[in-house]
Protein backbone atom coordinates (compact mmCIF):
# COMPACT_ATOMS: atom_id res chain seq x y z
CA UNK A 1 0.00 0.00 0.00
CA UNK A 2 3.02 2.26 0.18
CA UNK A 3 2.61 5.00 -2.34
CA UNK A 4 5.86 6.83 -1.83
CA UNK A 5 8.24 4.15 -3.03
CA UNK A 6 10.53 4.53 -5.96
CA UNK A 7 11.52 1.55 -8.04
CA UNK A 8 15.08 1.16 -9.24
CA UNK A 9 15.64 -1.54 -11.79
CA UNK A 10 18.95 -2.78 -13.13
CA UNK A 11 19.27 -3.33 -16.88
CA UNK A 12 20.28 -6.97 -16.39
CA UNK A 13 16.70 -7.66 -15.25
CA UNK A 14 15.21 -6.10 -18.39
CA UNK A 15 17.57 -8.05 -20.62
CA UNK A 16 16.62 -11.28 -18.85
CA UNK A 17 12.89 -10.53 -19.24
CA UNK A 18 13.20 -9.90 -22.97
CA UNK A 19 15.32 -13.03 -23.39
CA UNK A 20 12.78 -15.22 -21.60
CA UNK A 21 10.00 -13.70 -23.72
CA UNK A 22 11.90 -14.75 -26.83
CA UNK A 23 12.16 -18.28 -25.50
CA UNK A 24 8.52 -18.66 -24.51
CA UNK A 25 6.47 -21.72 -25.42
CA UNK A 26 4.58 -21.82 -28.68
CA UNK A 27 1.18 -21.14 -27.21
CA UNK A 28 2.07 -18.64 -24.53
CA UNK A 29 1.24 -15.05 -25.23
CA UNK A 30 3.23 -13.68 -22.38
CA UNK A 31 5.76 -14.80 -19.77
CA UNK A 32 5.81 -14.14 -16.07
CA UNK A 33 8.51 -14.47 -13.48
CA UNK A 34 9.74 -13.46 -10.07
CA UNK A 35 11.69 -10.32 -9.31
CA UNK A 36 14.45 -10.43 -6.72
CA UNK A 37 16.06 -7.50 -5.03
CA UNK A 38 16.36 -5.45 -1.90
CA UNK A 39 14.17 -2.91 -0.18
CA UNK A 40 15.78 0.02 1.54
CA UNK A 41 14.10 3.14 2.96
CA UNK A 42 11.35 3.43 0.43
CA UNK A 43 13.48 2.45 -2.53
CA UNK A 44 12.91 -0.96 -4.04
CA UNK A 45 15.95 -2.06 -6.00
CA UNK A 46 15.38 -4.91 -8.45
CA UNK A 47 18.60 -6.72 -9.20
CA UNK A 48 17.69 -10.19 -10.45
CA UNK A 49 14.86 -12.20 -11.93
CA UNK A 50 13.91 -15.65 -13.14
CA UNK A 51 11.10 -17.00 -15.29
CA UNK A 52 8.32 -19.08 -13.83
CA UNK A 53 6.39 -21.38 -16.16
CA UNK A 54 2.67 -20.74 -16.21
CA UNK A 55 -0.39 -21.57 -18.25
CA UNK A 56 -3.01 -19.06 -19.11
CA UNK A 57 -6.32 -19.70 -20.75
CA UNK A 58 -9.56 -17.78 -20.97
CA UNK A 59 -10.85 -18.69 -17.56
CA UNK A 60 -8.00 -19.90 -15.49
CA UNK A 61 -4.36 -19.39 -14.80
CA UNK A 62 -1.91 -21.92 -13.34
CA UNK A 63 1.49 -20.94 -12.01
CA UNK A 64 4.10 -23.52 -11.14
CA UNK A 65 4.68 -22.37 -7.60
CA UNK A 66 6.98 -25.20 -6.63
CA UNK A 67 9.28 -24.25 -9.48
CA UNK A 68 9.29 -20.69 -8.21
CA UNK A 69 10.16 -21.81 -4.73
CA UNK A 70 12.96 -24.10 -5.91
CA UNK A 71 14.49 -21.46 -8.13
CA UNK A 72 14.35 -18.94 -5.31
CA UNK A 73 16.21 -21.39 -3.05
CA UNK A 74 18.88 -21.95 -5.68
CA UNK A 75 19.33 -18.24 -6.17
CA UNK A 76 19.48 -17.69 -2.42
CA UNK A 77 22.50 -19.99 -2.30
CA UNK A 78 24.43 -17.60 -4.49
CA UNK A 79 23.20 -14.35 -3.00
CA UNK A 80 21.42 -14.63 0.34
CA UNK A 81 20.59 -10.92 0.47
CA UNK A 82 18.24 -11.02 -2.48
CA UNK A 83 14.59 -11.37 -1.55
CA UNK A 84 11.42 -11.59 -3.61
CA UNK A 85 10.20 -8.06 -4.24
CA UNK A 86 7.53 -8.74 -6.82
CA UNK A 87 6.88 -10.24 -10.21
CA UNK A 88 7.03 -9.28 -13.85
CA UNK A 89 4.94 -9.93 -16.92
CA UNK A 90 5.46 -9.09 -20.57
CA UNK A 91 2.75 -7.38 -22.54
CA UNK A 92 1.15 -4.06 -21.94
CA UNK A 93 -2.09 -4.93 -20.22
CA UNK A 94 -3.02 -5.87 -16.72
CA UNK A 95 -5.57 -8.65 -16.93
CA UNK A 96 -7.71 -10.29 -14.27
CA UNK A 97 -5.20 -13.12 -14.22
CA UNK A 98 -2.57 -10.59 -13.24
CA UNK A 99 -4.64 -9.75 -10.18
CA UNK A 100 -4.67 -13.38 -9.10
CA UNK A 101 -0.94 -13.77 -9.66
CA UNK A 102 -0.32 -10.55 -7.81
CA UNK A 103 -2.24 -11.83 -4.82
CA UNK A 104 0.06 -14.83 -4.65
CA UNK A 105 3.11 -12.65 -4.72
CA UNK A 106 1.65 -10.27 -2.19
CA UNK A 107 1.76 -13.16 0.23
CA UNK A 108 5.47 -13.63 -0.41
CA UNK A 109 6.61 -10.12 0.38
CA UNK A 110 5.39 -6.99 2.05
CA UNK A 111 4.78 -4.60 -0.81
CA UNK A 112 5.20 -6.47 -4.00
CA UNK A 113 5.88 -4.68 -7.23
CA UNK A 114 4.44 -5.63 -10.58
CA UNK A 115 6.68 -4.81 -13.52
CA UNK A 116 5.45 -4.89 -17.10
CA UNK A 117 7.65 -4.85 -20.15
CA UNK A 118 5.77 -4.25 -23.36
CA UNK A 119 7.37 -6.68 -25.74
CA UNK A 120 4.52 -6.25 -28.23
CA UNK A 121 6.03 -2.84 -28.93
CA UNK A 122 2.71 -1.08 -28.91
CA UNK A 123 3.05 2.52 -29.97
CA UNK A 124 6.57 1.83 -31.26
CA UNK A 125 7.92 1.83 -27.72
CA UNK A 126 8.91 -0.92 -25.37
CA UNK A 127 7.22 0.54 -22.34
CA UNK A 128 8.57 -0.52 -18.97
CA UNK A 129 6.23 0.24 -16.10
CA UNK A 130 6.10 -0.60 -12.43
CA UNK A 131 2.91 -0.87 -10.41
CA UNK A 132 1.90 -1.47 -6.89
CA UNK A 133 -1.55 -2.62 -6.00
CA UNK A 134 -4.03 -1.16 -3.62
CA UNK A 135 -7.51 -2.12 -2.72
CA UNK A 136 -10.27 0.18 -3.75
CA UNK A 137 -13.99 0.28 -3.70
CA UNK A 138 -16.70 0.46 -1.12
CA UNK A 139 -15.71 -1.44 2.01
CA UNK A 140 -18.06 -4.29 2.66
CA UNK A 141 -19.58 -4.26 -0.79
CA UNK A 142 -17.79 -4.51 -4.15
CA UNK A 143 -14.05 -4.41 -3.75
CA UNK A 144 -11.45 -4.32 -6.44
CA UNK A 145 -7.73 -3.88 -6.86
CA UNK A 146 -6.16 -0.91 -8.47
CA UNK A 147 -2.69 -0.91 -9.89
CA UNK A 148 -1.02 2.44 -9.37
CA UNK A 149 2.01 3.25 -11.47
CA UNK A 150 5.22 3.98 -9.63
CA UNK A 151 8.17 6.09 -10.75
CA UNK A 152 10.72 3.85 -12.39
CA UNK A 153 14.40 4.63 -12.60
CA UNK A 154 17.17 2.59 -14.16
CA UNK A 155 20.03 2.20 -11.73
CA UNK A 156 23.55 1.19 -12.74
CA UNK A 157 26.46 -0.22 -10.87
CA UNK A 158 29.75 1.21 -12.12
CA UNK A 159 30.89 -1.77 -14.16
CA UNK A 160 27.32 -2.29 -15.36
CA UNK A 161 27.42 1.17 -16.89
CA UNK A 162 30.45 0.20 -18.92
CA UNK A 163 28.85 -3.12 -19.78
CA UNK A 164 25.62 -1.57 -21.04
CA UNK A 165 27.55 1.01 -23.02
CA UNK A 166 29.58 -1.72 -24.66
CA UNK A 167 26.62 -4.02 -25.29
CA UNK A 168 24.43 -1.27 -26.75
CA UNK A 169 27.12 -0.09 -29.14
CA UNK A 170 25.71 -2.43 -31.74
CA UNK A 171 22.28 -0.87 -31.80
CA UNK A 172 22.75 0.88 -35.12
CA UNK A 173 24.71 -1.95 -36.63
CA UNK A 174 22.59 -4.07 -39.01
CA UNK A 175 24.20 -7.24 -37.67
CA UNK A 176 23.75 -6.00 -34.10
CA UNK A 177 27.25 -7.13 -33.18
CA UNK A 178 29.88 -5.45 -31.08
CA UNK A 179 33.54 -6.31 -31.43
CA UNK A 180 35.90 -6.12 -28.51
CA UNK A 181 38.40 -3.35 -29.06
CA UNK A 182 41.71 -2.56 -27.45
CA UNK A 183 42.13 0.04 -24.71
CA UNK A 184 43.79 2.52 -27.03
CA UNK A 185 40.87 2.25 -29.41
CA UNK A 186 38.51 3.15 -26.60
CA UNK A 187 40.52 6.22 -25.74
CA UNK A 188 40.43 7.31 -29.36
CA UNK A 189 36.65 6.66 -29.48
CA UNK A 190 36.16 8.77 -26.38
CA UNK A 191 38.30 11.56 -27.79
CA UNK A 192 36.27 11.48 -31.01
CA UNK A 193 33.10 11.87 -28.96
CA UNK A 194 34.54 14.77 -27.01
CA UNK A 195 35.57 16.39 -30.26
CA UNK A 196 31.99 16.05 -31.49
CA UNK A 197 30.69 17.67 -28.36
CA UNK A 198 33.20 20.49 -28.68
CA UNK A 199 32.12 21.04 -32.28
CA UNK A 200 28.53 21.48 -31.10
CA UNK A 201 29.62 24.01 -28.54
CA UNK A 202 31.74 25.94 -31.02
CA UNK A 203 28.80 26.03 -33.41
CA UNK A 204 26.60 27.44 -30.66
CA UNK A 205 29.16 30.09 -29.72
CA UNK A 206 29.55 31.10 -33.37
CA UNK A 207 25.83 31.45 -33.74
CA UNK A 208 25.59 33.63 -30.67
CA UNK A 209 28.42 35.83 -31.90
CA UNK A 210 26.82 36.33 -35.29
CA UNK A 211 23.53 37.01 -33.59
CA UNK A 212 21.65 33.99 -34.94
CA UNK A 213 20.84 32.67 -31.48
CA UNK A 214 19.94 34.51 -28.34
CA UNK A 215 22.72 34.46 -25.79
CA UNK A 216 21.78 32.58 -22.68
CA UNK A 217 23.57 33.66 -19.47
CA UNK A 218 23.40 30.21 -17.86
CA UNK A 219 24.98 28.66 -20.99
CA UNK A 220 27.62 31.35 -20.82
CA UNK A 221 28.35 30.44 -17.21
CA UNK A 222 28.67 26.74 -18.12
CA UNK A 223 31.05 27.59 -20.92
CA UNK A 224 33.16 29.78 -18.65
CA UNK A 225 33.29 26.95 -16.11
CA UNK A 226 34.34 24.54 -18.84
CA UNK A 227 37.19 26.74 -20.00
CA UNK A 228 38.18 27.25 -16.38
CA UNK A 229 38.63 23.53 -15.77
CA UNK A 230 41.54 23.35 -18.19
CA UNK A 231 44.42 23.80 -15.76
CA UNK A 232 46.55 26.87 -16.16
CA UNK A 233 50.08 25.61 -16.15
CA UNK A 234 53.05 27.45 -17.61
CA UNK A 235 54.22 25.84 -20.80
CA UNK A 236 57.60 24.55 -19.66
CA UNK A 237 56.28 23.08 -16.40
CA UNK A 238 53.62 21.24 -18.31
CA UNK A 239 56.17 19.98 -20.83
CA UNK A 240 58.28 18.67 -17.97
CA UNK A 241 55.37 16.83 -16.35
CA UNK A 242 54.29 15.41 -19.66
CA UNK A 243 57.77 14.21 -20.53
CA UNK A 244 58.28 12.66 -17.10
CA UNK A 245 55.05 10.72 -17.38
CA UNK A 246 55.84 9.65 -20.90
CA UNK A 247 59.31 8.50 -19.89
CA UNK A 248 57.81 6.42 -17.07
CA UNK A 249 55.38 4.71 -19.39
CA UNK A 250 57.99 4.12 -22.07
CA UNK A 251 60.37 2.62 -19.54
CA UNK A 252 57.68 0.30 -18.26
CA UNK A 253 56.87 -0.79 -21.79
CA UNK A 254 60.58 -1.38 -22.46
CA UNK A 255 60.97 -3.50 -19.31
CA UNK A 256 57.91 -5.58 -19.99
CA UNK A 257 59.02 -6.20 -23.56
CA UNK A 258 62.45 -7.15 -22.22
CA UNK A 259 60.85 -9.69 -19.92
CA UNK A 260 58.77 -11.10 -22.73
CA UNK A 261 61.82 -11.39 -24.98
CA UNK A 262 63.78 -13.12 -22.25
CA UNK A 263 61.01 -15.66 -21.80
CA UNK A 264 60.82 -16.30 -25.52
CA UNK A 265 64.58 -16.80 -25.60
CA UNK A 266 64.51 -19.24 -22.69
CA UNK A 267 61.73 -21.13 -24.42
CA UNK A 268 63.82 -21.48 -27.57
CA UNK A 269 66.83 -22.62 -25.58
CA UNK A 270 64.93 -25.19 -23.58
CA UNK A 271 63.63 -26.75 -26.78
CA UNK A 272 67.06 -27.12 -28.33
Amino acid sequence: MATNVAVHVHPVVLFAIVDSFERRNEDARRVIGTLLGTVDKGVIEITNSFTVPHNESEDEVAVDMEFAKNMHDLHKKVNPTEAIVGWYATGNEITEHSVLIHEYYARECASSIHLTVDTTLKGAKMGVNAFSSSVMGVPGKTMGTMFTPLPLVINYWEPERTGVNAVTKGKFNPKRTVNMVSDLQRVSDASARIQEMLDHLILYVDEVLTGKTQPDPSMGRYLAELIGTVPQIPQDEFEEMLNANMKDLLMVVYLSNLTATQLALSEKISLL
Binding site: F15, D19, P53, V128, P159, Q235, S256
Partner: protein, 335 residues
Protein backbone atom coordinates in the same frame (compact mmCIF):
# COMPACT_ATOMS: atom_id res chain seq x y z
CA UNK B 1 20.77 -31.54 -33.84
CA UNK B 2 22.30 -34.02 -31.43
CA UNK B 3 23.77 -36.20 -34.16
CA UNK B 4 25.09 -33.12 -35.93
CA UNK B 5 26.97 -32.08 -32.82
CA UNK B 6 28.39 -35.55 -32.45
CA UNK B 7 29.91 -35.51 -35.93
CA UNK B 8 31.39 -32.05 -35.36
CA UNK B 9 33.21 -33.31 -32.31
CA UNK B 10 35.43 -35.50 -34.44
CA UNK B 11 36.86 -32.63 -36.45
CA UNK B 12 40.11 -30.94 -35.51
CA UNK B 13 39.71 -28.86 -32.42
CA UNK B 14 41.63 -25.98 -33.95
CA UNK B 15 39.00 -25.56 -36.61
CA UNK B 16 35.95 -25.90 -34.37
CA UNK B 17 35.83 -22.69 -32.40
CA UNK B 18 36.88 -19.67 -34.41
CA UNK B 19 35.06 -17.10 -32.37
CA UNK B 20 32.77 -16.82 -29.39
CA UNK B 21 29.48 -14.98 -29.60
CA UNK B 22 28.05 -13.63 -26.38
CA UNK B 23 24.57 -12.42 -25.73
CA UNK B 24 24.38 -9.04 -24.06
CA UNK B 25 22.53 -10.77 -21.25
CA UNK B 26 25.52 -13.00 -20.46
CA UNK B 27 27.83 -10.00 -20.16
CA UNK B 28 25.45 -8.23 -17.80
CA UNK B 29 24.90 -11.36 -15.70
CA UNK B 30 28.64 -11.85 -15.25
CA UNK B 31 29.09 -8.20 -14.34
CA UNK B 32 26.29 -8.43 -11.79
CA UNK B 33 27.62 -11.58 -10.17
CA UNK B 34 31.17 -10.27 -9.83
CA UNK B 35 29.86 -6.96 -8.53
CA UNK B 36 27.92 -8.73 -5.79
CA UNK B 37 30.77 -10.99 -4.77
CA UNK B 38 33.11 -8.05 -4.46
CA UNK B 39 36.80 -8.66 -4.26
CA UNK B 40 36.71 -12.44 -4.14
CA UNK B 41 37.06 -14.81 -7.01
CA UNK B 42 33.73 -15.60 -8.62
CA UNK B 43 32.96 -18.44 -10.97
CA UNK B 44 30.00 -19.63 -12.91
CA UNK B 45 28.77 -21.79 -15.73
CA UNK B 46 28.16 -20.75 -19.34
CA UNK B 47 25.26 -22.18 -21.32
CA UNK B 48 24.79 -22.11 -25.04
CA UNK B 49 25.42 -24.07 -28.19
CA UNK B 50 27.89 -24.55 -30.98
CA UNK B 51 26.87 -23.42 -34.47
CA UNK B 52 29.40 -24.03 -37.19
CA UNK B 53 32.64 -22.42 -36.13
CA UNK B 54 31.07 -20.10 -33.62
CA UNK B 55 30.37 -20.88 -30.00
CA UNK B 56 27.21 -19.07 -28.99
CA UNK B 57 26.81 -18.37 -25.32
CA UNK B 58 23.24 -17.47 -24.53
CA UNK B 59 22.97 -17.61 -20.76
CA UNK B 60 24.95 -18.20 -17.62
CA UNK B 61 24.47 -18.80 -13.92
CA UNK B 62 26.82 -18.22 -11.03
CA UNK B 63 28.34 -20.69 -8.61
CA UNK B 64 27.76 -19.95 -4.95
CA UNK B 65 30.89 -18.68 -3.27
CA UNK B 66 30.75 -20.91 -0.23
CA UNK B 67 30.70 -23.99 -2.43
CA UNK B 68 34.40 -24.34 -1.85
CA UNK B 69 34.21 -24.12 1.93
CA UNK B 70 31.00 -25.92 2.76
CA UNK B 71 31.54 -29.70 2.64
CA UNK B 72 27.83 -30.51 2.63
CA UNK B 73 27.27 -28.54 -0.49
CA UNK B 74 27.10 -30.65 -3.57
CA UNK B 75 28.32 -28.74 -6.60
CA UNK B 76 27.07 -31.27 -9.09
CA UNK B 77 23.65 -31.31 -7.53
CA UNK B 78 23.35 -27.54 -7.64
CA UNK B 79 24.41 -27.54 -11.27
CA UNK B 80 22.01 -30.32 -12.22
CA UNK B 81 19.08 -28.68 -10.48
CA UNK B 82 19.79 -25.30 -12.00
CA UNK B 83 20.10 -26.74 -15.49
CA UNK B 84 16.93 -28.76 -15.08
CA UNK B 85 14.98 -25.69 -14.07
CA UNK B 86 16.41 -23.62 -16.88
CA UNK B 87 15.58 -26.29 -19.42
CA UNK B 88 12.02 -26.13 -18.22
CA UNK B 89 11.79 -22.51 -19.30
CA UNK B 90 13.46 -23.21 -22.66
CA UNK B 91 16.84 -21.77 -21.78
CA UNK B 92 19.75 -23.59 -23.42
CA UNK B 93 21.00 -26.12 -20.94
CA UNK B 94 24.16 -27.25 -22.68
CA UNK B 95 27.28 -26.66 -20.68
CA UNK B 96 29.69 -24.93 -23.00
CA UNK B 97 32.18 -23.46 -20.63
CA UNK B 98 32.70 -21.49 -17.47
CA UNK B 99 33.72 -18.02 -16.44
CA UNK B 100 36.00 -16.65 -13.78
CA UNK B 101 36.83 -13.19 -12.53
CA UNK B 102 40.41 -12.04 -12.34
CA UNK B 103 42.40 -9.09 -11.09
CA UNK B 104 45.05 -7.45 -13.23
CA UNK B 105 45.15 -10.43 -15.53
CA UNK B 106 46.46 -12.95 -13.00
CA UNK B 107 44.57 -16.09 -13.87
CA UNK B 108 47.07 -18.66 -15.14
CA UNK B 109 47.04 -21.20 -12.32
CA UNK B 110 46.96 -24.95 -11.94
CA UNK B 111 43.37 -24.87 -10.67
CA UNK B 112 42.22 -23.05 -13.77
CA UNK B 113 44.08 -25.43 -16.06
CA UNK B 114 42.63 -28.43 -14.23
CA UNK B 115 39.07 -27.17 -14.55
CA UNK B 116 39.47 -26.18 -18.17
CA UNK B 117 41.06 -29.51 -18.98
CA UNK B 118 38.10 -31.34 -17.50
CA UNK B 119 35.67 -29.18 -19.42
CA UNK B 120 37.50 -29.59 -22.69
CA UNK B 121 37.85 -33.28 -22.11
CA UNK B 122 34.11 -33.75 -21.88
CA UNK B 123 33.21 -31.09 -24.43
CA UNK B 124 35.86 -30.22 -26.94
CA UNK B 125 34.63 -26.72 -27.65
CA UNK B 126 34.56 -25.39 -24.09
CA UNK B 127 35.97 -21.99 -23.36
CA UNK B 128 36.81 -20.17 -20.18
CA UNK B 129 35.79 -16.53 -20.07
CA UNK B 130 38.06 -14.33 -18.05
CA UNK B 131 36.39 -11.17 -16.85
CA UNK B 132 38.28 -8.33 -15.18
CA UNK B 133 35.95 -6.34 -12.91
CA UNK B 134 38.53 -3.67 -12.05
CA UNK B 135 39.19 -2.80 -15.66
CA UNK B 136 35.48 -2.75 -16.38
CA UNK B 137 34.84 -0.37 -13.51
CA UNK B 138 37.49 1.90 -14.93
CA UNK B 139 35.69 1.94 -18.26
CA UNK B 140 37.09 -0.81 -20.48
CA UNK B 141 34.88 -3.86 -20.81
CA UNK B 142 37.37 -6.67 -20.39
CA UNK B 143 36.03 -10.10 -21.33
CA UNK B 144 38.37 -12.63 -22.97
CA UNK B 145 37.81 -16.20 -24.01
CA UNK B 146 40.53 -18.84 -23.78
CA UNK B 147 40.86 -22.49 -24.71
CA UNK B 148 43.65 -24.97 -24.09
CA UNK B 149 45.61 -25.84 -27.20
CA UNK B 150 45.64 -29.47 -28.36
CA UNK B 151 49.27 -29.68 -27.23
CA UNK B 152 48.31 -28.75 -23.70
CA UNK B 153 45.48 -31.26 -23.77
CA UNK B 154 47.87 -34.00 -24.87
CA UNK B 155 50.35 -33.25 -22.11
CA UNK B 156 47.63 -33.01 -19.48
CA UNK B 157 46.37 -36.45 -20.40
CA UNK B 158 49.70 -37.97 -19.49
CA UNK B 159 50.32 -35.57 -16.59
CA UNK B 160 53.98 -35.90 -17.44
CA UNK B 161 55.70 -32.56 -17.10
CA UNK B 162 59.26 -33.83 -17.06
CA UNK B 163 61.75 -31.93 -19.20
CA UNK B 164 62.14 -34.78 -21.69
CA UNK B 165 58.47 -35.00 -22.41
CA UNK B 166 58.18 -31.26 -22.80
CA UNK B 167 61.05 -31.28 -25.25
CA UNK B 168 59.44 -34.09 -27.18
CA UNK B 169 56.08 -32.44 -27.51
CA UNK B 170 57.68 -29.03 -28.10
CA UNK B 171 55.51 -27.53 -25.44
CA UNK B 172 56.08 -23.85 -24.69
CA UNK B 173 54.41 -21.38 -22.36
CA UNK B 174 53.13 -19.37 -25.30
CA UNK B 175 51.23 -22.39 -26.50
CA UNK B 176 49.27 -23.07 -23.34
CA UNK B 177 46.22 -21.02 -24.22
CA UNK B 178 44.54 -20.03 -27.42
CA UNK B 179 42.73 -16.74 -27.23
CA UNK B 180 39.42 -16.83 -29.08
CA UNK B 181 37.97 -13.54 -30.31
CA UNK B 182 34.77 -12.49 -28.60
CA UNK B 183 31.82 -10.78 -30.24
CA UNK B 184 28.73 -9.48 -28.49
CA UNK B 185 25.50 -9.92 -30.36
CA UNK B 186 21.97 -8.90 -29.50
CA UNK B 187 18.69 -10.12 -30.90
CA UNK B 188 16.30 -7.66 -32.52
CA UNK B 189 14.03 -7.41 -29.51
CA UNK B 190 16.96 -6.84 -27.19
CA UNK B 191 18.13 -4.16 -29.61
CA UNK B 192 14.76 -2.47 -29.18
CA UNK B 193 15.29 -2.72 -25.44
CA UNK B 194 18.68 -1.04 -25.79
CA UNK B 195 17.09 1.88 -27.58
CA UNK B 196 14.38 2.02 -24.93
CA UNK B 197 16.93 2.07 -22.13
CA UNK B 198 18.60 5.01 -23.83
CA UNK B 199 15.36 6.91 -23.47
CA UNK B 200 14.35 5.89 -19.99
CA UNK B 201 17.67 6.23 -18.30
CA UNK B 202 20.80 6.28 -20.38
CA UNK B 203 24.04 5.15 -18.78
CA UNK B 204 25.71 8.53 -18.70
CA UNK B 205 29.09 8.25 -20.22
CA UNK B 206 31.60 8.51 -17.44
CA UNK B 207 34.89 9.47 -18.87
CA UNK B 208 36.81 8.56 -15.75
CA UNK B 209 39.01 6.27 -17.78
CA UNK B 210 40.42 9.37 -19.42
CA UNK B 211 41.98 10.18 -16.07
CA UNK B 212 45.70 10.86 -16.40
CA UNK B 213 46.64 9.37 -13.02
CA UNK B 214 47.95 6.06 -14.31
CA UNK B 215 50.60 5.38 -11.71
CA UNK B 216 48.63 3.44 -9.08
CA UNK B 217 47.29 0.81 -11.47
CA UNK B 218 50.66 0.59 -13.18
CA UNK B 219 52.38 0.12 -9.83
CA UNK B 220 50.14 -2.80 -8.92
CA UNK B 221 50.64 -4.39 -12.31
CA UNK B 222 54.39 -4.09 -12.12
CA UNK B 223 54.48 -5.37 -8.56
CA UNK B 224 52.58 -8.50 -9.59
CA UNK B 225 54.94 -8.92 -12.52
CA UNK B 226 57.96 -8.66 -10.23
CA UNK B 227 56.55 -11.21 -7.82
CA UNK B 228 55.91 -13.65 -10.62
CA UNK B 229 59.38 -13.11 -12.06
CA UNK B 230 60.83 -13.82 -8.61
CA UNK B 231 58.91 -17.06 -8.41
CA UNK B 232 60.05 -18.00 -11.88
CA UNK B 233 63.68 -17.38 -10.99
CA UNK B 234 63.29 -19.54 -7.88
CA UNK B 235 61.85 -22.30 -9.99
CA UNK B 236 64.70 -21.99 -12.49
CA UNK B 237 67.17 -22.17 -9.63
CA UNK B 238 65.63 -25.42 -8.50
CA UNK B 239 65.97 -26.74 -12.01
CA UNK B 240 69.61 -25.74 -12.24
CA UNK B 241 70.34 -27.29 -8.87
CA UNK B 242 68.81 -30.48 -10.04
CA UNK B 243 71.03 -30.58 -13.10
CA UNK B 244 74.09 -29.84 -11.03
CA UNK B 245 73.21 -32.69 -8.71
CA UNK B 246 72.67 -35.04 -11.63
CA UNK B 247 76.09 -34.08 -13.00
CA UNK B 248 77.70 -34.65 -9.62
CA UNK B 249 75.99 -37.98 -9.29
CA UNK B 250 77.17 -39.05 -12.70
CA UNK B 251 80.70 -38.12 -11.78
CA UNK B 252 80.47 -40.07 -8.55
CA UNK B 253 79.07 -43.06 -10.45
CA UNK B 254 81.94 -42.99 -12.90
CA UNK B 255 84.47 -42.77 -10.12
CA UNK B 256 82.88 -45.73 -8.40
CA UNK B 257 82.86 -47.82 -11.56
CA UNK B 258 86.51 -46.99 -12.16
CA UNK B 259 87.49 -47.88 -8.64
CA UNK B 260 85.63 -51.18 -8.98
CA UNK B 261 87.44 -52.01 -12.21
CA UNK B 262 90.76 -51.16 -10.67
CA UNK B 263 90.04 -53.29 -7.67
CA UNK B 264 88.88 -56.17 -9.82
CA UNK B 265 91.98 -55.90 -11.99
CA UNK B 266 94.14 -55.94 -8.88
CA UNK B 267 92.30 -58.94 -7.49
CA UNK B 268 92.40 -61.02 -10.66
CA UNK B 269 96.08 -60.18 -10.86
CA UNK B 270 96.47 -61.60 -7.38
CA UNK B 271 94.31 -64.58 -8.33
CA UNK B 272 91.35 -63.83 -6.05
CA UNK B 273 87.70 -63.85 -6.94
CA UNK B 274 86.53 -60.62 -8.53
CA UNK B 275 84.04 -58.62 -6.59
CA UNK B 276 80.56 -58.76 -8.07
CA UNK B 277 79.43 -55.82 -10.12
CA UNK B 278 76.91 -54.27 -7.91
CA UNK B 279 73.95 -52.62 -9.29
CA UNK B 280 74.97 -49.02 -9.53
CA UNK B 281 71.48 -47.76 -9.38
CA UNK B 282 70.96 -49.20 -5.95
CA UNK B 283 73.91 -47.26 -4.60
CA UNK B 284 73.14 -44.04 -6.36
CA UNK B 285 69.48 -43.37 -6.34
CA UNK B 286 68.36 -41.80 -9.60
CA UNK B 287 67.24 -38.23 -9.10
CA UNK B 288 63.83 -37.34 -10.42
CA UNK B 289 63.82 -34.33 -12.71
CA UNK B 290 61.53 -31.64 -11.34
CA UNK B 291 58.23 -30.98 -13.04
CA UNK B 292 58.29 -28.15 -15.54
CA UNK B 293 54.65 -27.36 -14.94
CA UNK B 294 55.32 -24.45 -12.60
CA UNK B 295 57.76 -23.00 -15.06
CA UNK B 296 55.15 -23.15 -17.81
CA UNK B 297 52.43 -21.63 -15.68
CA UNK B 298 54.59 -18.83 -14.34
CA UNK B 299 55.89 -17.97 -17.79
CA UNK B 300 52.36 -17.91 -19.13
CA UNK B 301 51.33 -15.65 -16.26
CA UNK B 302 54.22 -13.29 -16.93
CA UNK B 303 53.26 -13.14 -20.56
CA UNK B 304 49.71 -12.18 -19.59
CA UNK B 305 50.95 -9.50 -17.19
CA UNK B 306 53.27 -8.08 -19.86
CA UNK B 307 50.40 -7.87 -22.31
CA UNK B 308 48.29 -6.08 -19.70
CA UNK B 309 51.03 -3.59 -19.00
CA UNK B 310 51.61 -2.95 -22.67
CA UNK B 311 47.93 -2.30 -23.29
CA UNK B 312 47.68 -0.06 -20.27
CA UNK B 313 50.78 1.93 -21.17
CA UNK B 314 49.67 2.39 -24.75
CA UNK B 315 46.41 3.96 -23.69
CA UNK B 316 48.25 6.00 -21.06
CA UNK B 317 50.48 7.42 -23.78
CA UNK B 318 47.41 8.14 -25.87
CA UNK B 319 45.88 10.10 -23.02
CA UNK B 320 49.07 12.09 -22.50
CA UNK B 321 49.11 13.15 -26.14
CA UNK B 322 45.45 14.04 -25.77
CA UNK B 323 46.23 16.29 -22.81
CA UNK B 324 49.11 17.85 -24.69
CA UNK B 325 46.80 18.74 -27.52
CA UNK B 326 44.42 20.42 -25.08
CA UNK B 327 47.21 22.51 -23.62
CA UNK B 328 48.38 23.64 -27.03
CA UNK B 329 44.88 24.76 -27.95
CA UNK B 330 44.71 26.72 -24.76
CA UNK B 331 47.99 28.44 -25.53
CA UNK B 332 46.65 29.44 -28.93
CA UNK B 333 43.53 30.79 -27.27
CA UNK B 334 45.33 33.07 -24.84
CA UNK B 335 47.34 34.71 -27.58
Amino acid sequence: MASGRGSRRTTESEATVQYVQLDGLVVLNIIKHCEEVGSELSQGVLLGLLIGNCLEITNCFPFPRNALDDPDFDEMQYQMEMMRHLRYVNIDHLHVGWYQSTFFGGFVSKALMDSQFQYQHSLDESVVLIYDPLKTTQGYLSVKAYRLTPQTMAIYETMDFSPENIKQTKMAFSKIFDEVPVVIKNSHLVNALCLEIEEIGPPTEKYSFLDLATSSVLEKNIKLLMDTVDELSQDSNKFHNHYRQVAKQNQAKQQYVQKRHQENAARTAKGEVALPEEDINKLFKPLLPPSRLDNLLLSGQIKSYCEQINQYSSQGLGKLFFAEGLQDKKQVGTI
